[in-house]
């Protein structure tokens, strides 16, 4: 069995694979993630592709996560479970459920729960010249942002908004787009995103919320409110001293924070640039 290693923060995940189609999925998902040293070992995975049955078989440890012929679903299941596996032991910094971008080395952190619109904003801002770090998982360590640079997992609402705004076709499966059942995985390069190799310091916090009924608005929020929201998006709290309480407050004190409601992308770029400039 061949081994593929995915490392982020201080955690390394091993994926045993067999079959070229399995390797193609791993390269599609993780090719942009640089290797690292001095890591903890998390759960291991196994991804096989059976040429005979034309199906993928995905396990985490001994648990079957997927068996079927859809590459996109296998990829999405692996991605979700692998991110969970990374977050469980991670203790080197604050690991947020967040997107992040950069503009002239200004780090913009967008924490939010699933459905908040992080991925849609990441894709759109990347297409408009912002550096791309991640649409899902961000590590804040030593005052710098590091992103888990996976393909963008775009839900249906985001697909509609992005197709309209960018003209990029997301409904047809191909080398860059995989259908996942919940939406699509799309390479960030589809949006001409420049993967940000520098580690920018966080200078701006935006808590996004997509809401079809609310016009675009960008509202400053207090530091205490920011701390509360950051804590709710911190996914490795249990591994940190006092659940990262001290570090969360230090971050909230040092960075301006805003709530962004949006139902279309027209005003997003000007709104964000108005804050980073």
């Amino acid at each position: 069995m061949n081994q593929y290693r995915v490392t982020f923060g201080d955690v390394s995940i091993s994926v045993a694979w067999q079959g070229k189609a399995a390797l193609a999925i791993l390269d599609y998902l993780f090719a942009n993630i640089p290797p690292a040293e001095n890591y903890l070992v998390g759960d291991s995975f196994q991804l096989l592709y059976s040429e005979q049955n034309k199906e993928y078989i995905l396990h985490r440890q001994d648990k079957l996560l997927y068996q079927g012929s859809a590459a996109g679903i296998a990829a999405a299941r692996l991605l979700d479970a692998l991110i969970h596996a990374i977050s469980q032991p991670c203790q080197s910094g604050l690991l947020f459920h967040a997107a992040a971008l950069s503009w002239n080395n200004v780090g913009i952190l967008l924490p939010g729960e699933s459905g908040a619109g992080k991925t849609t904003l990441s894709a759109w801002l990347s297409s408009q010249g912002f550096g791309f770090l991640s649409d899902e998982l961000i590590l804040v360590k030593d005052g710098l942002l590091t992103g888990f640079q996976r393909p963008l997992h775009i839900k249906q609402v985001g697909i509609d908004l992005l197709e309209k705004a960018t003209g990029v076709g997301l409904h047809v499966e191909g080398a860059d787009v995989l259908k996942t059942g919940q939406g699509v995985l799309a390479r960030s390069s589809l949006f001409n995103a420049v993967v940000c190799s520098d580690l920018p310091p966080p200078r701006l916090l935006i808590f996004p919320q997509y809401n079809a009924k609310i016009e675009f608005e960008l509202t400053p929020i207090s530091k205490a409110n920011s701390s509360m929201r950051l804590m709710n998006c911190l996914i490795n709290a249990r591994n940190l001293n006092k659940h990262g309480f001290t570090e969360i407050n230090a971050l909230a004190k040092s960075v301006s924070a805003y709530e962004m409601n949006y139902n279309c992308l027209d005003k997003v770029v000007d709104g964000v640039l108005g804050l980073v400039r």
Binding site: S222, A224, N225, S227, M228, N232, F245, N249
Partner: protein, 111 residues
Amino acid sequence: MVYSSRLFICTVIAPVKAIDDIKPSQIPTPKQGYQLEALDDELFLYDIGNTQAIHLNSASALVWQLCDGHRNIQDINTLLQDAYPDKRDQITQDLYDSLSAFLAQGMIQLA
């Protein structure tokens, strides 16, 4: 500290206790064990055991700080009325709203 805004707690998930159930003679006692950080004139509270994060704006932070397990609700109301005489009409309602939300969050007990 300016008593300027109404209660704002972002994480209310339980039903709010009826304000009529709160009596002026009762003594609110804060639950122990919160990590607490004052940020400007607001508070961020975090309960590690329940992974519960709470933001209190300036008004509710002030009420929280007056809930010391010794003063009863009438005492707290009087203190606030004396401190902010121009807000007398609003203060009692805000106080009871805050206490009601604190109860719903399990942040205080009434004795």
